[in-house]
Symmetry: C2
Subunit: 361 residues, 2 copies
């Protein structure tokens, strides 16, 4: 059984993106948006983990562009808890960097790794799942992932196919992962949902430091060599200079594609709690909305509106009689579109980029 003192929580907060434009910007990605009852998704993620690990065992990995904003968002965390990549290189270098560091400071720890930008209302359920995942990571030496119960034939996520082999932990029965499945087409997604032994790949993991270091050495030897070089150079010139020198050269790849899909022993802890990765303005409604009513965030004065997503980050947003509309107001940009076309925010962002209006991005 894992005791919580063995745990280190690693929150990956390096994401950027434009799906929440104009609220999200280069300097203020999704994880910093106030989508968790006034707090940011990141702050809510850290708070959810508090019953599991203290702030002295919580690490945030972000990037240089937003590191200051992340620090401001998490004033209770010690300054050295926030690690900033000089450039983003996807999840494998990010996780590898932290694992190599922990191998020196906490070689016997179990890492639990979570994205900063998910909504999980039931934090206690998450903590129970992570506790069991950590215990299985410890007892098996394998890599453990949380497998979300699919609620719809979603084509936007990867899936885990579960095998028959099982391990019973305190509150969950983990299943051996038979294979990782890339984002499927609609027909396959429907089949996976019906089959019963498929789970959404959550991007939430648990493993011992030793296990992930070994897996990276085995499946991503070039990355491992880069991380060795980073550690060596750090001992000579300090971490900042070493990062600036080595990190940009690390190969960009995800932990799923680079390691998990090839690893010998992967376990999934099936979980059923409500979850969203808040992938778009519509995703926000899914986690925050009540049927028929609006999602309202910020200074919103709405009369007779319904099923709308009304968000302000400063200006008063006044709406009358709007239905099924997304309206997002900031001081320098306003977005209006029907919910049914909410994906088209990308076209706006592309146009702005093409027109060189980078100040708005």
């Amino acid at each position: 059984m894992t005791s919580s003192t063995d745990l280190v929580a690693v929150v990956m907060a390096g994401g950027s993106g434009t799906r929440f434009w104009p609220l999200s910007r280069a300097a203020r990605p999704k994880q910093l948006l106030p989508f968790a009852g006034g707090r940011s998704l990141l702050a809510a993620t850290v708070e959810r983990l508090a019953p599991l690990v203290g702030s002295d065992r919580t690490l945030i990995v972000t990037n240089a562009t937003v590191a200051e904003a992340v620090r401001a968002d998490l004033p209770d965390l010690p300054g050295d808890a926030i690690l900033a990549e000089p450039v983003g290189r996807d999840t494998a270098p990010c996780i590898g960097w932290v694992a190599w560091r922990l191998a020196q400071t906490h070689p016997d720890a179990v890492m639990v790794v979570l994205p900063a930008d998910h909504v999980i209302p039931d934090g206690a359920a998450l903590c129970r799942a992570l506790t069991d995942a950590a215990a299985i990571a410890r007892s098996t030496g394998g890599l453990v992932t949380l497998g979300l119960a699919p609620t719809r034939p979603e084509t936007g996520y990867g899936y885990l196919e579960l095998g028959d082999e099982a391990i019973v932990a305190t509150a969950h029965t983990a299943r051996r992962v038979r294979r990782f499945v890339e984002k499927p087409d609609q027909a396959h997604a429907v089949a996976y949902l019906a089959a019963g032994n498929y789970r959404w790949n959550s991007g939430m993991f648990a493993w011992t430091v030793a296990a992930i270091v070994a897996a990276i050495r085995r499946h991503l030897p070039e990355l491992a060599a880069g991380l060795d070089e980073l550690a060596l150079l750090t001992s000579h010139v300090g971490e900042a200079a070493a990062l600036a020198e080595v990190y940009p050269r690390l190969h960009r790849t995800s932990i799923d594609f680079g390691v998990m899909e090839h690893a010998a022993e992967v376990w999934a802890v099936p979980v059923g709690f409500a979850w969203s990765d808040v992938g778009s303005w519509l995703g926000l409604e899914e986690v925050l909305g009540d049927a028929g009513s609006d999602v309202r965030i910020g200074d919103v004065l709405a009369l007779d509106s319904c099923r709308s997503i009304l968000v302000s980050d400063g200006p008063l947003l006044a709406a009358v009689g709007v239905e099924d509309l997304v309206v997002v107001a900031t001081a320098d940009a306003v977005l209006v579109l029907p919910k049914s076309q909410s994906q088209r925010v990308r076209e706006i962002v592309e146009r702005l980029r093409a027109e060189g209006r980078t100040g708005l991005l």
Copy 2:
């Protein structure tokens, strides 16, 4: 025949209002909004009159709150061309004040009086009508008003019923006004439209200085006494001090209700040019929109939108796939509502007033 050197143009620019909130504010009423191809309605009004009168014979009457903004909007006008009421007292005191002033400086002039906030695309047609109106004012000594050909059974305007007596001027045949009609109900409006001898009361006038002074003395003797007092006090303490002392005590009334409806001899010059008083966001569409396309003002990036009114006064307004919507974006307030409910901007303004958010009004 009136020569143009006899003319003085008086533009009434004292209005305030909330129908264009959040673009219109206490310090920036409708006449200063950029609804005339990037220029303000006021600037466009002054420009339309340029073929008729020089800037040395153009007077703007506004109020103290917006006088500075009016000056900034009309940089080519001499500073003493802009007269500021200390408080608004409707059109009769405003016109009376200017008439009493002109009685001293231009006693033989014909005044043409126009609101600052109308849209009249065909400025030449307006000038021809005002030239004829001035000639009739000179030749008859009566009060002359422009009578707009009604295009719909509008219940929001007053009407003029025309009598049979006629005077032929250069380009128009003026008709004696039989009576003024207050805003009618729908049935009467339909009847007036069908009758053929009714015109919309435009609020655009021509009269000799002597005629309007005499009419005010006759029909509004209290106002005349106040204006006499103002003139006398001005000669002792200067106009600013005299205005502050006397003007707030002047009785609030309109020139239509106080003078025109009672005057012995009123002539109407019937005009058929396109005209709008831009009474609401919808009114803007009437004068600026093409069928099926949007009205777009300011920094607007719209994809696949139609029949919408998209206005920005600063922020980028990005819209995708919106239909029949009004969206108005400013740095501190954004309004969104369906065109069919555009009158309800008042409810928003009332709520803000009730909540004491006067900074937004």
